[in-house]
């Protein structure tokens, strides 16, 4: 079995799709054509070029990093019961 055939069979198994009729054969034959079609892409000199993962130049917007006491006191006040850092709730399993 050639590398391309092994790769194809692995992809069919991983993709988990039922291929009706002659679709299995057709897709395998077509994959060879697809791979040939991709040759010009592989021939592009990409030395020193970074792969990009976003279609635009946006960056994460991070909130300002400053120390504060948080909202624990407010949360404790809102809870019906609170003890030693834990919320007390009714048991679910008897």
């Amino acid at each position: 079995m050639s590398d391309i055939e092994k790769g194809f069979e692995k992809a069919v198994k991983t993709a988990k799709v039922d291929l009706p009729g002659d679709e299995h054969v057709r897709l395998y034959q077509q994959l060879g054509i697809f791979a040939n079609w991709l040759e010009p892409l592989l021939a592009v000199d990409t030395t020193g070029i970074e792969p990009i993962i976003l279609g635009h130049n946006s960056v994460n917007v991070l909130r300002e990093d400053f120390a504060h006491k948080g909202v624990m006191a407010e949360l404790q006040e809102a809870a019906p019961e609170f003890d030693e850092g834990f919320y007390l709730v009714p048991p679910i399993i008897e």
Binding site: V17, L19, L41
Partner: protein, 477 residues
């Protein structure tokens, strides 16, 4: 009332002035849609009483003095965009009775502005294609030539008066190609300008929600409503405090437009002629046309199909009949997965899932996928460079007439049709397809591409062509 001679702004103004009601406009639109749907196969689901009730509510709000920028405007929504009132099928037999629990942000914004959804338009199975021929409901028919596919049902809705505006998706060019085939304008906005929350994306990197309408001016009226930050979509670029309304169009006097002359050498004479006529018209307007170089389109197209298929295989992994989509009858769990996924994804989806998985396999990942991501970077640089010497680029949209319904194209030939559109998707830049001429009895479009957030300039310049060539089209239906 002929919707094809009515602008979005004029209709909203008429309704505010009491010339007619939103109910009148929606009733007329629904009537047009019902008449044409049987012959052209535009809608998967049409709104009826719901839309009329919404129109009545809009009329009441206007009576009370509210100002709504899109009051009563009938909108068609492609069926890969969620709208909670009608079923959302994604063009798949595995979602034939699915009601989305929420509505896409872009649709919600239109409705808040007074627009009314009149139907969900036809599409290829899971939106994988640009001809609608793989829809379980059958292809949408081109109203100019009934033997050909329309490409986009939203464009047909607009050209025939079954809607004034259509919201559509565009990954590799479906929206722009459909607009070209039907003689309407279609905008793929800057990546991140319009929220994609509620769009069923097969390609996370390239899928966008865009707008189709008769003119650029109509598109502009819609974009101003739907653009902007959305807390449900982290890829929206504009922060909460900014608005598209604050973005000024560039001055169009002495505009410089770049045209890649070498690209059209291989085109049919009729397509070349349309390019030349448009260039001449732009020159008459005082615009400067310069020859620019876009050498990487063939490699860009290949990078698109590597990345898009890899992403489709990943994004569609959840459609298994258990988590999403209806379950097929099966004797065991493995068989249930296989059969359900096969039914949900359809022929094109099965192919993309397998090829996408193949491209991401160990051994192929670096060879194909990582290389495609690097080429994507080079393509973006090339478009950026092309725009350093001019304000806009003028490019073809398609190189052939829309396909005959009887025509079966092989895989590579059908992908090669995207040679002018998919590379623009990689650039992340806004692109507007506009009607530029006729080839026989069929309209053909060109596209203008601009820098990020140049939508207003694109719509203004494209309308110069439409106005000067008196190309306000009238679909024969």
């Amino acid at each position: 009332m002929d919707l094809r001679n009515l602008s979005v702004c004029q209709a909203a103004e008429d309704i505010h002035n009491g010339e007619y009601t939103a109910h009148d406009l929606i009733e007329k639109t629904l009537e047009n849609g019902s008449l044409l749907n049987e012959s052209l196969n535009i809608f998967i689901h049409q709104a009826g009483v719901d839309a009329l009730e919404q129109a009545k509510a809009i009329d009441l709000r206007i009576e009370k003095g509210e100002k709504l920028p899109l009051a009563g405007i009938p909108v068609a929504v492609k069926d890969d965009i969620c709208y909670g009132v009608l079923p959302t099928t994604f063009g798949s037999g595995g979602f034939s009775d699915f009601y989305s629990p929420y509505t896409a942000t872009a649709v919600e914004r239109l409705m808040e502005a007074g627009a009314i959804v009149v139907g969900k338009t036809n599409l290829d199975n899971m939106s994988l294609g640009s001809s609608t021929t793989s829809s379980p409901k059958g292809a949408t028919i081109n109203p100019w030539d009934n033997s050909r596919a329309a490409g986009s049902a939203g464009a047909v809705a607009v050209i025939t008066g079954a809607a004034m505006v259509a919201l559509e998706s565009d990954s590799g060019g479906a929206l722009r190609q459909g607009a070209s085939s039907c003689g309407v304008a279609g905008l793929r906005p800057t990546g991140g300008l319009v929220s994609r929350h509620g769009l069923n994306l097969h390609s996370s990197s390239f899928g966008q929600i865009g707008v189709t309408a008769l003119t650029g001016k109509n598109i502009d009226a819609v974009i101003q409503v739907i653009a902007g930050y959305d807390q449900y979509d982290a890829s929206t670029l504009i922060s909460k405090d900014e608005s598209i309304l604050e973005v000024e169009p560039v001055a169009i006097e002495n505009l410089k437009i770049g045209f890649p002359q070498s690209l059209i050498e291989g085109l049919e004479p009729e397509f070349k002629a349309i390019c030349q006529e448009t260039i001449n018209l732009f020159k008459e307007q005082g615009f400067e046309i310069s020859d620019i170089s876009l050498k990487m389109l063939p490699e860009a197209l290949r990078a698109y199909y590597v990345i898009a298929q890899a992403e489709a295989s990943s994004n569609h992994a959840r459609f298994d009949g258990i988590r999403f989509g209806s379950a097929s009858e099966a004797d065991n769990l493995e068989e249930l997965y296989l059969k359900s996924r096969s039914n949900i994804l359809g022929r094109e989806g099965r192919q993309r899932s397998i090829y996408g998985t193949y491209l991401l396999n160990k051994g192929n990942f670096d060879l194909y996928y990582r290389q495609a991501l690097k080429v994507w970077n080079l393509v973006r640089r090339e478009f950026g460079l092309a725009l350093t010497g001019c304000e806009l680029l003028l490019m073809p949209v398609v190189k052939n007439l829309p396909p005959l319904l009887s025509e079966g194209k092989d895989l590579i030939s059908s992908w090669e049709e995207d040679i002018f559109c998919a590379p623009v998707s990689l650039s992340g830049l806004p692109a507007l397809s506009f009607p530029a001429g006729m080839i026989g009895e069929l309209p053909a479009g060109l596209q203008l591409v601009g820098p990020p957030f140049s939508e207003k300039t694109l719509t203004t310049v494209s309308d110069i062509v439409v106005r000067n060539k008196q190309l306000f089209p009238h679909g024969k239906a």
